[in-house]
Every structure is written in structure tokens, then in C-alpha cells.
Amino acid sequence: MQKLILNAALSLQRSKRYRHAKEKARDLFENDHNPYKRFLDLFIIFLIVSSVFILVYEVDHPIPSWLDSYDIYFVSFVFFVEYIIRLWIHSEWSGELVDEYQNACFLHKKFDFWSAFWRATRNKLKYLITPAAIIDLLAILPAYRPLRVLRIFVLFRVLKLLRYTKSINQFVDVVVSKRFELLTLLFLLAFIVITAGIALYVLEERINPQINSLFDAIYWALITISTVGYGDIAPVTDIGRMISMFIIISGIAIISFATSVIVSAFSERLSELKENRIIEQVNKSRAFLIICGYGQMTKMLLRQQQDEIGDYVIMDMDKERVAQARKDGYVAIKDDASRFETLSRFNTDYTDVTVLCLTGNDIENIYITLNAKSISRRIKVIARVNNVELANKFNYAGADHLLMPNEVVNTMIRTAITQPATYKAAHAILTGKTIAKIDEMYMYEQHGLIGKRIGDIDFNTGKLILIGIERNGEFLFNPHQDEIVMKHDVLLVMGKQISIDYFQEQYRAGNRS
């Protein structure tokens, strides 16, 4: 028997297909970034909603038998399968068993099969008693028809929705974080209710016809303390009424206290919840930008190109600067980009992330660069270097591009002094003025320009200047008239924005005229 189980576990672990399938299933069920998970979620949500709808509709209307069997067999079956899969992917039962076995073999120890078996099984059992698993199990139960009362378990199907609603989970989180205060209040409430209930029971049980048991008295106390006051049970003696007055007042105090605890817990967590929302939002896009530091440079960048940089999020450690950024209408969160946890919250596996280190502090910028690169090599880093002597260190840290505003200003001032005309030209070009835009044209397949001689292309009408062609990483400046445009070339042209747009339009794919 032991051997049989052990052999089965071993062969499972050796099977590549088995492990692959399990990996796939786990990704589908648990990884939020998996694009197919959304369809699975929607499917299950549909089953839940339809099942509840049938429950409600059935109360008053006859329903066709196919709908009934859909509810009993199909929905329950899918939930059952889901339950089994979730149990399966929760932990590595056979893996743990095999590990223990191999360790024992390695150490030449006697392999205690049953204790290893128990340890592996315990992990699965632990999953079975989590609230989510219990809800899943109860949601299958309504399939058992002979017991009518089990129908009410359909409501557990509603609870299954909890898995898909983040806001409720966040609410539960907040309440859990204040459990000490709330528990204290609950005990206080229970204490007052029970004392008042017992007092009323003792005082009025014989006089008051409405009170027949201790349960009645406690029910009355709770209804009164919550200020609901149905009035089905009411005290008839003066002392009973005095007890009423006392518990009504303490009830108001307790309720308002409980409300304020929950509200304050929420407002404490509100900014965090908001920021999580922002990160979730930005994680959904295919490519986005994390801008670290909200200083003059960031402001300038956003003012110049906000429409064209796509999705972004500004991150700053300083509360006031974050508030300022939000006031200016930008998406900003307060967080420390040099911490591992901060950047790893972003979806770096499925999207293209660019980190812009624009803080005024070089050490901070280097640290953020290293942090981003340590999370994933795929993250592109553009870093600002304030002290030109540190440029080398940024290169070591792995920054893809460096920005040196000081050096730029230095050159600009020197140009302004020595070559004033050039300064005007360079300034207009470097700041991307529409009068002299430098633009790139990519020769994709079937672009109208491919195969043409440079001399035959009409750059003159729009007064465009062909600066050069980039081909296989090399740049040909001012190419010769006889040069032929090839596929995958990048043409660099300069001209007025409208001329460039018109030119592009003219030679759009396939338009060879």
C-alpha cells in the first residue's frame, strides 16, 4: 500500500506533462495578470448569478425542467470541478512526499511513510478549512434535492462572489485591522444586553405577558439597545422602563463609537486604497511610465508632452509634492521608489515598464536605478544625472539612458555666447518646436517609399530636409541622390510639423504614386 502511493507520487513528479498542467491551472486560477483569468471569472460569476435568479424566481413561478436540471447538475458540477481544482493546485502533495522520501534516502534514514503522508495531507486539510474553501463546498450542496432546506445554501453561491469583488475584501481587511477595538465593543454590548435581559426577565417575567423566557428578554434588550425598538415586547414596570432608558443611551454611545472606529480605519487606509487602484489601473496597460520625483523637470515633461507619453504614474516620497502633483491634475502616489516592495507591485512581466528617475538627488537616482534593474532587467531606466562626474556610476548601475541637464545648460550657454544663430536653431530643434521638428519615418513593409531613389523623392514641396538614414544601426548622413530606400530603414527628416504630416500621408503604405 505504502509502496503503491509512493510510486504514484514519484511518477507524478517525474511527469513533465503533469507539472506543466498544474502550472497552467495555477496561473489561470490565481495569477491576476493572466489574460484568460478574466473569462474564467466572468463564466463563474454568470453561473452564480443565474443560479440565484432561479432560486428567487422559483418561489412564485413554475420553472421549466431544463432550467431546474441546469441548476442542479450543470452549475453544481462546474462548482464541484472548480473546488477540486482549487484543492489540487493549493499545495504539492506528491511533491512534498517525494521530497521527504528523497531526503531520507540521501541521509540513509528510515523513511517514515505515514508521518510524511500526514504532513503532506495536513497542508491540503488546512486549505479545506479556509473560509473560501468552506464557502465553495457549501455552494455545491444545493444539488442535493431531497433536503429542501439545503436550497438556502444557494446563498453561499452569492458568497462565492466575494472572491471577485475587491472592494468587499478591502472592507473586510479594514475591519480586521480594527478587530481589537471592535471586539472590545462587542463584549461591552454583549455584557449590557445580557445583564439588562436577565434583569428584565427577573423583574417582569411574571407580570409581563409578552416575556415568556430568558430568550425573549435578551431579544428585547438587543432590539432596544440598537435603537430599533419594534415594540412587540415592552417593559410594563417602572424599573423595567428605567432599564430601557439606560440601555438606549448606552446603545447610542456604542453604535456611534463603532461607526467612528470603522470610519477612521477607512480614512486611514483611504489613500492606500486609492493608490492600489491607481497601480491596478496602470498595470492593465501595455506600456507605462513610472516617474520618480515631482520636480521642475517632471513638471516640464508633463506640460510639454502629457498627451503623448501614454500611461504614467508619478511617485514621490514627499507628501506635499504629491499633493501638488494631484492639484496640478496628474496621477501621483506617495511611495518610495527605492524600496523593492514598491516597484515589484507593478506588472513587470507582462508589460513594458520605463522608470524615469528625475529626483534632484543623484544618490537617490542611482538607488532607484539599481532597484528597478534588480526587479527585472526588462525595466527600462532613464536617469537624471546632476553631477556629471557620477555618469559612470549610473552606467554601472545599468541605466539605459542618462539625462544631464547641467551639461545641456552648460553647452547651451556656451553656444549662446559663441554662436548665437546656432543657439536659436538648436534650441528650437531640441525643444521640439513645430517649426523645425525632427521626425523619424519607419519604412515598414509596403511603405510607399521603399525602392525609391533619394533623388526621385520630392522633399522640396514641403521644404523638408532629409538629414539621413539609419540602416542596420548605422547612420548615413546626407545620403547620396542615388541611394535607394530599403525596407526597415529609418528616415530622419526635418521640417514644419504640417509638412511632415503631409509627406507621411502622401507615402502611406501602398500609395506609390
Binding site: 515633461l301 545641456v408 550657454i413 536653431a425 517649426i435 525632427i438 546626407n478 529609418v490
Partner: protein, 252 residues
């Protein structure tokens, strides 16, 4: 040519680099500071012509005789002081050419109002570069060359000398591609000091004294600058090729 003299206010983060760069370009520099620490730093770095002056005082500013300098550069560390200084200098010396540095759009506006001839924004160029890096990798490489300003493909301006074959030519008719360089724009003295890009499509007549700005490899630009002094085009081309050959030979 007489050495240009420059009065540099401020030896802070930017002043330091600018002073060094200008000295490399062969300018005569006088540094003025109002802050003890920066003043000492300038002395330590080996500058001789350094003065510590309270720039808030008009009388002391007059003593510096700014009118004898060709250009005045204001790069004080304190942004407010910088604007104030620009304003004082302008009110005292109407003729001086003042260049100031700014770190935000608001300051740029104030400096312009205060009377600076040229305001250089610290971040404007860099911010645009971020965008270029992300969306236009090829042009980024070329633009990088403009800033490095030393070798590779650069921008250069040249004034049209007397008897040049360019005198009287129209920009539309001008074809300088045989020199391996591109004409980007010009300052037409007849039409004032504004810079015109050739890409605006307005035909200009070139005259003596006009400034043209060309883009091209470093050595070709130098050869071309020398060649435009010739009176006919054939002569110029011959001279240009000759000169280019000599440069390449020298390099080898």
C-alpha cells in the same frame, strides 16, 4: 581676434561648469559672487579674477564696469537673487547683453520681463529629450551630437564674407549638398535679427553679413566655412575638396 570678455555672476552648481567650459573655449572670464562659500570655492578651483560683491548694491555693480564686457551671464544659485540681479543690471546698463538661467517657466517669464536678452531654461531641453528617448531613438542619437558639440554631426554658423559666391544667391536656388552638408536656416540682416528655418519655405536672398547655419560633419563644415570666401562656385568646390583632403591626411 580680440578675446571676448565675459562677466559671470554666480559660481554655484551651474556657474562652476559654465566657467570651465567658457575658459576652454578661450574666453576671458571675470567671476563675481556674493556668497562666501562659493567665492572660496572659486578661489580654490584656481580662478584668479574673482570678486566678492554684494550684488544688491547698485553702486558696487557700477564699480565692476559691466559695460566693458561683451556678455554678462547671470547664474546665481539663488533664483530670486538672479532675477533681481538681472533687473538691476538692465536698469543700470541699457546696452549690455545679458544671458540668464532659469529653472522653471515662471522664472523664465520673470527674467524676460526683467530684461534678460536670452533666458536658458534648465529643464526644457532635457524634458524634451526624455520624450525623444522613448519615442524617437534615431533622432535622439543625432540630437545628442548637437549637445556634445565637439565632433560627429554638429550645427555650425558662418557669416557670409565679402566677395563670397553666395552673395546675391537665393536660398531656393542654393544647392550645397555637393559639400556633404545641409543648410538649416539663416539670419537675414535685412529682415532683422530673427532666425529663419529654411523649412518654413520662404525664399531668402543671401547678402554679405548674413549668417547661415549648417548641419554636417565637423570637418566638412570647417572646410565649407573657408570655401565660402571664394568668389565663384567652381573655385569654392576645388578649395573645399582640397581642404578636406588635407584634413583627412592630417588625421591619418
Amino acid at each position: 581676434m580680440k578675446k571676448q570678455r565675459i562677466l559671470l555672476f554666480g559660481y554655484g552648481d551651474h556657474g562652476r561648469h559654465i566657467a570651465k567650459g567658457l575658459a576652454e573655449d578661450g574666453f576671458e572670464i571675470k567671476i563675481v559672487e556674493s556668497d562666501q562659500t562659493y567665492f572660496r570655492k572659486a578661489k580654490e578651483d584656481g580662478w584668479i579674477d574673482v570678486e566678492i560683491v554684494d550684488v544688491k548694491s547698485d553702486a558696487l555693480l557700477k564699480l565692476l564696469e559691466p559695460e566693458t564686457f561683451d556678455q554678462i551671464v547671470c547664474v546665481m544659485q539663488d533664483e530670486h537673487l538672479n532675477v533681481f540681479l538681472t533687473l538691476s543690471l538692465r536698469s543700470l546698463f541699457k546696452e549690455s547683453y545679458i544671458i540668464s538661467i532659469s529653472d522653471s517657466i515662471h522664472t523664465t517669464k520673470k527674467l524676460k520681463m526683467a530684461g534678460a536678452n536670452k533666458v536658458i531654461d534648465l529643464y526644457e531641453v532635457s524634458a524634451n529629450k526624455v520624450f525623444n528617448i522613448m519615442k524617437k531613438p534615431v533622432s535622439t542619437k543625432i540630437l545628442e551630437g548637437f549637445i556634445r558639440n565637439r565632433e560627429g554631426i554638429i550645427l555650425k554658423e558662418m557669416t557670409i564674407p565679402k566677395d563670397s559666391f553666395l552673395d546675391g544667391m537665393h536660398t531656393d536656388a542654393l544647392d550645397i549638398s555637393s559639400y556633404g552638408i545641409l543648410l538649416i536656416g539663416m539670419i537675414d540682416e535685412e529682415l532683422g535679427h530673427g532666425f529663419m528655418f529654411i523649412t518654413t519655405g520662404i525664399d531668402h536672398k543671401l547678402d554679405v553679413g548674413d549668417t547661415i547655419v549648417c548641419l554636417g560633419p565637423h570637418e566638412k563644415l570647417h572646410a565649407f566655412e573657408a570655401a565660402i570666401a571664394k568668389s565663384t562656385e567652381t573655385e569654392a568646390i576645388a578649395y573645399f575638396e582640397n581642404m578636406l583632403k588635407r584634413v583627412t591626411e592630417e588625421e591619418e
